[in-house]
């Protein structure tokens, strides 16, 4: 036993010694500090070219300088070969938001399937690599490591990264790995410098709340407002936006319930506070289940104000339930993009034709718009990179950072070029009245209606939102 202890002690000591000896050259050997300036990213590719050589041992070094005879010279590193481009998806296919993410991923697969049928990008087919994150930060990171590795499992860009804390946990790694990630979450922090490789799209929760509160105050001639939201990045981003708008409009905040709604808890205290406040309008940034509790409970106790909410606060699935009529009469929904079938923009026609051809029996849902928008960003970024002759990870990131994505009327355009976040963030919101009578749970993509949403405002930008100087509302 003593000998074993001795052996272990020696090994531990050795490891520590190794650590202590070797570590002093970390600081200088490691990295020329990652350039935080997104504009400077275009100068990256030249210094990047020698980099891949020592990394993958199975790659014959002659391969790199030799341009392929068939295709025009396109530099590649991980995730791209002569026939395929691998795009990674970090989606929560299980967990609390699975009901939303699974159809979004369905839609993305349809999008890339069509793109492949149309010939792919630069003669290469898109291969979608989906990993389930279970809405769990460690799992998200585990699968990120897998996709961001330099081996054959690696991808050239992250096509979807779901969730704010989850994406926040990998944003520094994204910069280190020179990977671009399209985020499926609308926190107001993504436009800040620390998230240079996180590509957001659509109006963030904060701006959306400004637009929503302004619209509601205008439509219902309100004098007072109650704000009830989830705690954390999503809810409090909305709460801060709502308060900014209330301040700009001179509304009195009679109940400030920032972070007061905890999902799954009995909502009696929040309902009591709303009812006692007697507000003209109520702003919610929660999930559908909690919205139902709040609005149903408050009306049961005789509350009569009007309600508005954004993001996943509302789901059409609520319409056939008992709170459907209450929602129809009192609720207005705000979203960063057009709902399916609303308006007659070119983008809408394209989404409908895509889904009707590639996923005709799927339920008639707006979430497919998400898939289309993120697919557009990935496609335009990759095409730009191919045009630049650089389908490396850094090349794709640089290409994305230089483009403005036109969403053809489906959402406020995403502008990734330029340095000023005030130009980059989207400010337009789509406004919907809801109607439980037009909802039809059996409607498929081949139908023309069935979601119970009626568009009443398109790309609406309130004064508060237009004048807002960018600064993360709820920084993460």
């Amino acid at each position: 036993m003593n000998r074993l202890k001795w052996l272990l002690a020696v090994m531990v000591a050795l490891a520590m010694l190794a650590a202590a000896c070797g570590d002093d050259d970390t600081t200088d050997a490691d990295t020329p500090d990652p350039d935080p300036d997104p504009g400077g990213a275009t100068e990256d590719p030249p210094e990047d070219l020698p980099d891949p050589e020592p990394d993958p041992p199975e790659d014959p070094p002659e391969d790199l300088p030799d341009p392929e005879p068939t295709t025009p010279a396109i530099a590649t590193d991980v995730g791209v070969d002569d026939d395929t481009i691998r795009i990674g998806f970090l989606s929560d296919l299980s967990g609390i938001f699975a009901g939303l993410t699974v159809p979004i991923t369905d839609g993305s697969q349809a999008y890339f399937e069509r793109l492949n049928d149309q010939g792919g990008i630069a003669g290469r087919m898109i291969e979608v690599v989906v990993r389930d994150t279970g809405y769990d930060v460690p799992t998200h990171q585990t699968h990120y490591d897998e996709l961001a590795g330099s081996g054959p499992d690696g991808v050239v860009m992250i096509g979807t990264s779901t969730g704010s804390p989850h994406t926040a946990s990998i944003r520094e790694d994204l910069i280190d790995d020179e990977l671009a990630g399209i985020v499926l979450s609308w926190n107001s922090s993504w436009a800040s410098a620390g998230s240079a490789n996180v590509f957001e799209w659509g109006t963030n929760y904060c701006v959306e709340a400004m637009n929503g509160v302004s619209w509601l105050a205008d439509a219902h001639d309100a004098k007072s407002i109650a704000i009830v939201t989830f705690p954390g990045d999503y809810g409090e981003d909305g709460a801060i936006g709502a308060k900014l708008a209330a301040e700009a409009l001179g509304l009195e905040v009679v109940y400030d319930g920032q972070g007061s709604v905890v999902p799954g808890a009995d909502q009696t205290p929040v309902i009591t506070n709303i009812v006692e406040s007697g507000a003209d309008i109520v702003w919610v940034t929660t999930n559908a289940s909690s919205l139902a509790e709040l609005i149903g409970g408050a009306y049961g106790e005789g509350f009569t104000g009007q309600w508005g909410g954004n993001g996943p606060s509302f789901s059409s699935l609520l319409l056939p339930t008992a709170v459907g009529p209450i929602l129809t009469a009192n609720y207005t929904h705000f979203a960063p993009y057009a709902s399916i079938g609303s308006g007659d923009s070119a983008g809408m026609a394209d989404v409908l034709s895509l889904m009707r051809e590639y996923a005709p029996d799927k339920q008639y849902l707006s979430v497919y718009i998400n898939s289309w928008l993120m697919g557009e960003i990935a496609r335009q970024g990759l095409e730009k990179a191919a045009e630049n002759g650089d389908l490396t990870r850094a090349g794709v990131t640089a290409a994305l950072q230089s483009i403005e994505v036109d969403f053809q009327g489906l959402a406020a355009n995403a502008n990734y070029a330029g340095d000023d976040p005030n130009d980059q963030i989207a400010r337009g919101t789509w406004v919907y009245a809801v109607d439980h009578e037009t909802y039809n749970g059996d409607a498929t993509m081949l139908d023309d209606e069935g979601e119970g949403l009626t568009m009443i405002g398109e790309n609406y930008v309130s004064e508060a939102a237009a004048n807002w100087e960018y600064e993360p509302c709820f920084a993460i």
């Binding site: 000998r3 070797g22 570590d23 050259d25 970390t26 990171q141 590795g149």
Partner: protein, 430 residues
């Protein structure tokens, strides 16, 4: 040199950690392998013909070297961390017989204490920015203190009452993340707070002697941050395994076992029940606290929701599947519970990619691309039958618990003992 197993001439000999030379040699070899796991040692990475097809092995590397791959590094490190926590629960539940569903709560306490002591303060959160040699033990000690505070109530309760009260701790703990002062420590709920980098330094502003959170070069090897974490946590885990082993084979461990087997009889024989139960709670919470801080350090994010009932049940499953009351079983159980879902996912993926041959035939039966036939949905299907591999993993987790409890209550360790005994006596049956 090999001696005769089970022939002990002194008590000291019997309580040795590794009584025979064979065991010592194997253990030394095993520990060395663990240390070398992340590195490309030529001897270990040679491609053995005929093993290339094994799907979980990644690039055709034989043995368990693939666990040190970039892809697997985080899961492998997680095994080490959860091993520490599971050893703690094993002492409490396996050795002392006090069933706790609140282990995740104590991990959470440790993580919060760790970030409170070691994290940097700003307008949103508190923190003291202390070095690791304060915050890591501090995490353990804080959790142990909370364990001591809870134990007077817990000691009065028995069996399932205790299990449900400790279950309550998990809910109460997550709720603290919602209070205004809880937010100052753990960050906003559902978002959490960034956990400090793991750096070895003397005091707050000093330069780091060893920076575990950045790539670097140790001896002849380039090591990434993930590999550094792995090595650090490996050293810590070995330390905690030895600690647990030593607790079990000394006075305290014997007292705890006596209490588990028959508490009143133990008390009559002079084992103070109350004191030892409190000790058991404190020690177990200490393990959990350290593991909790490391758990948050690994993902560099502290999220109070992460320390939930599922995590607690995972520990119960680890102990039961591995073999309650044994340290080796706990380690094996942790590996099993953490890695099996990864393996199942990889296997499904490999099957889905396979064309023709045995694998292709299996894939045709088991998987379904279009939702018509088979058990596992390989594409991204809408929810519903057939279930996706991720849902199957949860079901598998539940099934494993049930199957092990019904058919092998002693866990994997029990299976191993049976196999060993069979070969020891072979060709005789007794």
């Amino acid at each position: 040199m090999f001696g005769r197993p089970h022939l002990y001439t002194s008590y000291e000999q019997e309580t040795k950690i590794l009584p025979t030379w064979t065991q010592k040699v194997f253990m030394a070899f095993f520990v060395m392998m663990l240390f070398l796991l992340p590195f490309d040692i030529p001897v270990l990475t040679d491609d053995i013909p005929g093993f290339g097809w094994v799907p979980i092995i990644g690039d055709g590397i034989p043995g368990f070297r693939f666990l040190g791959d970039e892809n697997y590094m985080r899961s492998t490190t997680l095994v080490l961390i959860l091993t520490i926590a599971a050893l703690g629960l094993n002492l409490l539940s396996g050795v002392a017989g006090q069933v706790s569903l609140g282990h995740a709560f104590f991990m959470g306490v440790g993580a919060c204490a760790g970030v409170y002591l070691g994290g940097e303060a700003n307008s949103q959160v508190w923190g003291h920015g202390l070095p690791i040699w304060i915050w890591l033990p501090g995490a353990g000690v804080t959790a142990a203190l909370v364990g001591v505070v809870v134990s007077p109530v817990a000691v009065r309760l028995r069996g399932l009452y205790l299990a449900i009260v400790t279950l309550g701790l998990v809910f109460v703990g997550i709720h603290f993340g919602n209070t205004s002062w809880g937010r100052k420590i753990a960050g906003p709920p559902s978002l959490g707070r960034e956990f400090q980098d793991v750096q070895l330094k003397f005091w707050k502003e000093d330069n780091a002697l060893i920076d575990f959170s950045d790539d670097g070069r140790w001896l002849w090897f380039d090591v990434t941050d993930a590999e550094k974490y792995y090595l650090l946590f490996l050293v810590l885990t070995i330390g905690f395994v030895l600690l647990a082993k030593n607790i079990m084979r000394t006075r305290t461990g014997r007292a705890l076992q006596a209490i588990r087997d028959r508490d009143i009889a133990a008390e009559i024989m002079g084992v103070p029940e109350f004191r030892y139960k409190v000790i058991a709670f404190a020690v177990s919470s200490f393990f959990a606290g350290v593991a909790g801080a490391l758990y948050a350090a690994l993902s560099s994010q502290l999220l109070s929701d992460a320390f939930n009932l599922f995590l607690s049940v995972e520990f119960i499953a680890i102990i039961l599947i591995g073999g309650a009351g044994t340290n080796a079983g706990t380690v094996i159980g942790t590996f099993f519970v953490v890695m099996i879902p990864r393996f199942v996912e990889d296997l499904t993926e490999w099957l889905a990619a396979a064309e023709g041959g045995v694998a292709g035939a299996v894939a045709d039966v088991v998987l379904t691309g279009g939702g018509d036939f088979g058990l596992v949905a390989s594409g991204i299907e809408s929810q519903g039958w057939p279930m996706s591999v991720y849902d199957w993993n949860v079901v598998l987790f539940g099934l494993l618990i049930i199957v092990f409890l019904i058919f092998e209550p002693l866990g994997i360790y029990g299976i191993w003992v049976r196999i060993r005994n069979y070969w020891k006596r072979w060709p005789f049956s007794y």
